[in-house]
């Protein structure tokens, strides 16, 4: 029963935003977009215990595909998003195949480089990305004549996408694929000795996480209507890592809880004015001290964990 606490909390918060609308709806919308991103990150870092500092690259591929295809070529948002996600997964395949042979710090460095390179491309490839100026006038989500323009409408769509993402993560966790991920996380050597193809499952987790990252990147541009290189900068990596650890790495609910808390904390401390960042920092430290395995694990009995 206690295991439902994080879900009730998240549902309450999102429900409140839906009713309140306005600014709260905007903040929660961004949190939900990040939740999709972190669900993907969690597959790779939580389930499979690998490190990637370069997920922002895949978000950028998704976001810029959406932006360029809709504004320059007049595509519908949906096929543009789909193209972005496919492009990101393809990029992850090309990049992941050689780099996933690396371990620990080396893999982290290689993925960091991928993020930085993608950032440079979005800045320098001006004929397509318009550099620092960015691309504006990106159409909102929709299908044919039916578009989602209101804050609440967007929130509803995002809720549905996040719910589907979480459902997918839960299904993966309980599946044969998910078990293989956890085996790789537990001990690569033991997994190999059991006949589990470690390299293949690392790559699978990487591709999945890239797909979620691209989806999030693409959702962002359609919700905001604008994209620039800064959107997918290194801060995206830092923010998503914070969300993953605060929410609970390796859990299903963690990415959602983390994304909501980390997005809303600065808002909650707005009254502190000059000390807002300080209060936010202290809150994060306290969270990591008192819930080192993440907020979504707080209400779980240790023995019953599966």
């Amino acid at each position: 029963m206690l295991g439902a606490v994080p879900w009730v909390f998240a549902a309450g918060l999102v429900g409140y935003a839906l009713v309140a609308g306005g600014y709260m709806a905007t903040v929660v919308s961004f949190a939900l977009i990040y939740a999709v991103f972190v669900v993907g990150l969690n597959l790779f870092m939580g389930f499979t215990a690998q490190v990637s500092f370069g997920q922002n690259a895949f978000a950028a591929i998704g976001g810029y595909s959406s932006a360029v295809l809709t504004t320059m070529f007049g595509w519908e948002p949906l096929p543009a998003m789909l193209t972005g996600v496919c492009g990101a997964v393809l990029a992850a395949l090309v990049v992941g195949y050689p780099t996933l042979r690396l371990k620990g710090h080396y893999l982290a460095m290689a993925t960091l480089a991928i993020g930085l390179i993608t950032y440079e491309i979005t800045v320098e490839w001006q004929s397509v990305t318009q550099g620092y100026m960015g691309i504006s006038g990106i159409p909102p989500l929709g299908l044919g004549k039916w578009t989602v323009t209101s804050d609440r409408g967007q929130l509803v769509v995002l809720i549905a996408i996040v719910a589907l993402s979480l459902f997918a993560a839960a299904r993966i966790r309980a599946s044969r694929l998910g078990r293989a991920f956890f085996a790789v996380a537990g001990s690569e050597e033991a997994a190999r000795a059991l006949g589990i193809d470690v390299a293949r499952y690392k790559l699978a987790a990487f591709l999945l996480s890239a797909g979620f990252a691209a989806l999030a990147g693409s959702l962002f541009v359609h919700v905001v209507g604008f994209v620039s290189p800064e959107v997918y900068g290194l801060h995206m990596v830092i923010l998503s890592f914070t969300m993953l650890y605060v929410g609970g790495i390796g859990t299903v609910a963690g990415p959602l809880i983390g994304a909501l808390i980390v997005s809303l904390l600065p808002e909650a401390f707005r009254g502190f004015k000059d000390y807002q960042d300080l209060a936010y920092g202290v809150a994060l430290i306290l969270l990591l001290i008192y819930a080192p395995r993440g907020l979504s694990t707080l209400f779980r009995r240790r023995e019953a964990r599966s």
């Binding site: 078990r179 033991a190 000795a193 059991l194 193809d197």
Partner: protein, 244 residues
Amino acid sequence: MTAAAAAGPAEVLATVGLTARYGSIEALAPTDMHVEDGELVAVLGPNGAGKSTLLRALMGLVTNGGTVRFRGRPLPRRDPVAVAASGVVLVPEGRGIFGPMTVAENLELGAYRLGRDKAEFERRWTRVFDLFPRLKERLGQVAGSMSGGEQQMLAIGRALMADPKVLLLDEPSLGLAPRVTAEILETLHRLNQGGLPVILVEQKAPLALKLAKRAYLLSVGRIVATIDPREITSYDDIAKHYFA
């Protein structure tokens, strides 16, 4: 078993000039060894003699050279997945259980290659609990929260879920109380009596020699002696190698 004995026991797993290296360091000199049908072979030696490396080289988990033959066919050299698929299953040093997962999930992972054959899964499942009834009581428990002995049982049980044709064990007694070790070795003995060939790596020579039909003595990366346990009267000869 008697028929096989009459025809001469068949070689199950054999190495010809098997070597292993970590980077530029040779950890295993060219090694010839084998295990026959129904045999339990012990590999003894002091710390750092290359016992674990021998098992890892057999599995293809380290850079290796030479040949490993399984029932006459050479096994691929650097492909542990293919080696495991042929039925050579390793219980690694330190058990390698998946700590955050439950006992049941660990066992299911052992049968990872089986796919969806329910009946066969059930057969293996019941066999594991025949041997380790204690695991059945712990199915829902997180594996990492069990005692060392239970974790070792789980590691062996998980290997059995892969339905091994040869079982490789790396120091199952490591860090366990003597009573627990005895219990686990007794189970190994039962498994071996049931016809499963076993290669048992052990530092504690007297324990292993009680079960083994033959033993290889490893020192500084090479086999220095082959021992018939029945001919051992004192451990002085073995001890010599440990302290060499």
